[in-house]
Structure formats: C-alpha cells, structure tokens
C-alpha cells in the first residue's frame, strides 16, 4: 500500500536544494578556501576527541604513566577492557541501561501512538478536552521537588520504574504523531471500519505501518534520552546495584573510583591496572550503542525535528 505521508515532501525539499542555479555555484576562491579550511578544522575538533578516547582505551599501563604526549598508545592492549569487565560493575549496569531503555521506548511509543490516534479522530466527543490536556503539559510543568515527591509517594524510589516512567510520554511527541496520523487518507480508515475493524485494529494494522517513519523518530529519541539519562538515576536511586551505565561512568571516570577495590583477590597479577585505559573503555562501552544507531537516527531526525517545529 503506497500512501504519500508528509515525510515524502521533506525529502523533495532536500533534493531541490542540492540543485543550485548556475549563479549560485560561483564563489570567490578566498571565500571558498577559507570556508573549506574552517570546516575541516571544525571536523577535526569534533572527531578527534572520539578517536583520542578510543585510542586511550587501548593504552597499557606504561603508556599512561610515560611522560610523553599520548595520542597513539605504543603498546596497545585490551587490558583496560579486561579490568573493566573483571571489575564486575559494568555488565550489570549495561544490563540495567538496556532494560530501562527498551522498556521506556516500548511503553513510550505504545502510549504515544494510542493517545495520538485517539486525538486524531475528528468526531470523537471530548477530543478538544484531551488535546488540551496534552498541550498544557508542554506549556506548564511542575518543578523538581513535586516530581520527586510524586515518585516517592508512588513507592517507586529505588526501582527501575523510577527511571522508566517519569517523562516516558512527551506531549510534544503526541502532537507530532497526531499530526502525522491526521494526514493519512480518511478513506483507508473508513474502509477498514466498514470491513468491521475496530479502532485498535485500525491503529495497529493500518495507521502504524503507514507511519513507520514518525514512529521510528519518536522511538529513537525516547531511546537515546533514556540511554543518556543521568539525573533521574541520581535523583531516584540509592541502591548501587540498580545504577545504569551513566552513573557507573561517572563513578569510574569523574570520581576516579576503580572497580579494583572489590577484587583484591585478583590484584596478585603482575601488572597494575591501566586506570586511564579502564576509564576510557567505560566511556567507549557507553558511547558505542549510540554510534551504532546514529545512522538510523540521522536518517530520521531531521525530518522529525522539522515536522515538529513547523507544525507543532
């Protein structure tokens, strides 16, 4: 079934902008070269830190203690990753982050889509009221303390639900998705209703498959936000066994704690831990999942942001 969703229009805009008229293709050589040089410097400034972190994560103990400038380790090893693994905190934290991210994305998309679909129905009695309930959440929100007290009163402190539930549905996402749903031809939905489908079936079998792009945007944004979330964990967790990756990275890198304290029985091995490499290994482990989904993100986010900003 091919239906033109508004997504298709934004791709044509991109194509048009790449075909510049003849007069716009000329640029004074000086302008052109300084622009190119600046962009290359900028690209280096953006990319080099990541390469540096990556290379440091492979550094050996001698490399990090040597008194010369360290960019490429002379004796690359996997020691940093080994110590990180043996430290025993990174795997549980990774697990927590994966569970929390998966749960929040699933719940977020499901609730957002269901609500957005309901709000996209023209004749639904009370739809304006529900729409305002959503819009108002974007205009006014409570401060830190009332939100904390709510989580506390719901008895969610020190549970993973405290990381998942607050902020899992965003009013902005609901409005963006609703806007997409409203652009799906009404005839399709009417046909399905005539064939005896109820709204749940229409949403699941017709609307959602046609809105894959917007669903992807919202899923990816929810997932990234959740993966990076740090504040909620600091706020709601005191049990260190529930710590997500971001808190472990802070512990290891920014507070300089090593997981080695808990493994004194292993410290009989000859080489001391390459502390810096271990820290950077933790940073790499946390960053790689984002890098892996980045191509998908990039494919969708510009469209998502633009639709949101123009229509929302």
């Amino acid at each position: 079934m091919q239906v033109n969703t508004p997504l298709d229009t934004s791709t044509t805009v991109q194509v048009e902008s790449s075909e510049r008229p003849v007069w716009a293709r000329r640029q004074a050589p000086l302008v052109r070269w300084s622009l190119t040089t600046f962009m290359i410097i900028l690209a280096v400034l953006m990319i080099f830190p990541f390469l540096y972190i990556l290379s440091t994560s492979f550094a050996s103990f001698q490399d990090t203690t040597a008194n010369n400038v360290l960019v490429i380790p002379q004796h690359p090893t996997l020691e940093g990753y080994k110590w990180l693994w043996n430290g025993g905190v990174i795997l549980p934290a990774f697990g927590v982050s994966v569970i929390v991210t998966a749960a929040a994305t699933f719940i977020g998309v499901l609730l957002t889509a269901a609500l957005a679909y309901g709000l996209s129905l023209r004749g639904l009695p009370g739809s304006k009221f529900f729409l305002w309930v959503v819009i108002l959440t974007m205009l006014i929100s409570a401060g830190l303390i009332p939100n904390y007290l709510l989580v506390r009163q719901l008895n969610l402190l020190d549970t993973l639900w405290a990381l998942i539930l607050p902020g899992v549905v965003s009013g902005f996402h609901v409005i963006v998705m609703r806007q997409f749903f409203m652009n799906i031809p009404q005839e399709l939905i009417d046909c399905a209703h005539i064939d005896g489908a109820n709204d749940w079936q229409v949403l699941w079998n017709i609307v959602m498959p046609l809105s894959k792009a917007v669903v992807a945007v919202i899923a990816l944004f929810t997932a990234v936000a959740q993966w990076n979330s740090f504040f909620k964990a600091i706020l709601y967790l005191s049990d260190s066994r529930l710590y997500p990756l971001s808190l472990i990275v802070r512990m290891l890198v920014l507070q300089g704690q090593t997981p080695t304290d808990q493994m004194s029985n292993l410290s009989t091995s000859a080489a001391p831990p390459p502390e810096l490499a271990l820290q950077m290994a933790a940073v790499v482990v946390t960053t790689v999942p984002i890098l892996l989904i980045y191509p998908f993100l990039q494919k969708h986010f510009t469209k998502g942001v633009l639709t949101g900003s123009i229509k929302g």
């Binding site: 622009l35 900028l42 690209a43 269901a114 004749g123 709510l150």
Partner: protein, 326 residues
Amino acid sequence: MQAVKPAERLSSSRSQPDVGRGQGERPVPLKTRLWRYRWAYLLILPGFLYFVIFHYVPLWGNIAAFQDFSPYRGYFHSPWVGLQNFSDIFSNPDIGYVIWNTVLLSMLQIIFAFPAAIVLALMLNSMLSERFKRFMQSVLYLPHFLGWVIIISIWQQFFGGDGLINQIIQALGGHTIDFITNSAFFRPMLILQVMWKETGWGTIIFLAALSSIDMNLYEAAVIDGASGWRRLWHITLPGIRNVIIILLILRMGSILDTGFEQIFLQMQGVDIRVAQTIDIFTYIQGIQGGQWGLTTALGLVKAVVGTALILLTNKVVKLLGEEGLF
C-alpha cells in the same frame, strides 16, 4: 471544553465538527457517538492517565510551596504557612549569587552559543559541495546524542590536570594549567562545552528556514549586481529573522534553566559561589537538605518567571514591529 483557539488551529486540517465519522446529514445522538468511539477511548485512556499522574498531580503538588511540608505528613497534614517559604527564599544568604550565576550562565549562552548556531548554519548553507556539507552535518550533529557524563569525561581527558592539553603544555616546557577546578575557568568551560555539544544540532532549524527562502529573490539580486554580503544582509538574514526571534523568545522562557547534569557533574572542587545555580540549589537544599517547602516555592517562582519572560519578550518583540510567537 468549548472552542479554544490553538486547539482549533491544530484540528482544522480535518475539522468536521460533531458529525462523527459518518457522512450522514442527521446529527448523531451523543450516546451513539460515545459508543462508536469506545475503542478510541480505550486507546486514549492510558496516555491520559499517564499525563494526569505524572504531570497534573505534581502541578497540584506545588501547594507544598505554601506548607511547612514534610513527606511523612504529606500534602494533607502538613501545616499551612502562607507565603513564609517565599520570604525565606529571599532572606536566604545564598540566593543572591545563586540567581546571579543562573542568569549569567544563560546570558553567556545566549550571547555566545545562540549566534554560533546561526553563523554555522549560514556557513553550511553556503557550502558548494553537497557531499562535504552532508558529511559536516553528520559530524556536527553527533555530540547532541551523547549524554553529559560522556561529554565531560571526554572533556577532562583534554583539559584535566594530566589531560592532553596539559601534556602538550608540559612537553613545550610550560606549567600545567588547572582548567577543571579553577573557578575562573568554570563558566567559559561550561559555555564551550555547550557550544561543542549543541551548536551543530542548533543549525537544523536555521538550515530549514534558509532552504525555504525564495530562490528568485537571490536571482533578482544577482541580476541587479548585489554582492554576496549584500545578499546575506538584505535577503538571507531577513529571511530567517522570524525563526531567530521565535527561538529567542522561547530561550528567554528558559533563562532560569541552566541544566542540572552539566554543572552537577563538574562542580566538585569549584567555588560553590560560582557553580551553584537554581537547579543545583534546589537539589542540595530540597532533596538532600529536606527543605521541601522552600525549594518547591523556588521551583514555582522559577516557572512563573519563565512564563512571564516569554510573554514579556513576545510583547517587546511585537512592539518592535515583529511577528512574535503568538
């Protein structure tokens, strides 16, 4: 709820008031319509309940601002103290620099980080090679998707006591500079971090505005012999002026938000009178110090000031003859 303007605008694209899905001429009785939409209501219910619990209950929880609140007594049994919490805020000896730090950081961001995105967008827009431009965009957007913990971890590898920059300084025979815990460097560092992380992402909306400028305007200008700078000044900038203004208005609304994580993660060792902002103060005094009423009141003041600033900026912008947000 009766017709309210923005809602009307949002639903206008398929407004077909009160006839339901049917194309029939006769009005359908409410009961029939409610029954017809029973599945839809079921779909709305979870999301609706979510917003009620996680947005509207905390909003109501702001009443703690007028109580000597304690979580054990709860909202219903905590004694009412009127405006005591609000007057306590302003007699707090720390509040002066807390507010100053917050506003100063926001202003620095508006002065440095905000225009940077516009300039970068203009530069990207004038790049002739579409492939190089796409490459730059993917590189520039990336840091937006990394958490502050990662950004600051990376940052400290460069600016820390034995970070790369200090290694280079030492190799060149200089003395190491304490970038991280030196209070004088604290604010510039925060601004630079924000710029590194968010400037690329900030260009998206300006690039969109730039691509919607009518090409014929440029063509006419070229025929009339306008130079590149004149085209920039007379066509490009006016073309994105509205977007700039709208973003500025929205930015004014969050002038008291300075981001908790970025500062919280690197305030250790820095003079508290430089590092502490409203959000940090709220966390320390509220969550850690148990001054629930006082910090709720501060949150309420913050929200009201934010809304007031949006309205005020919007008014000023309109008085200056611009379009404004609403």
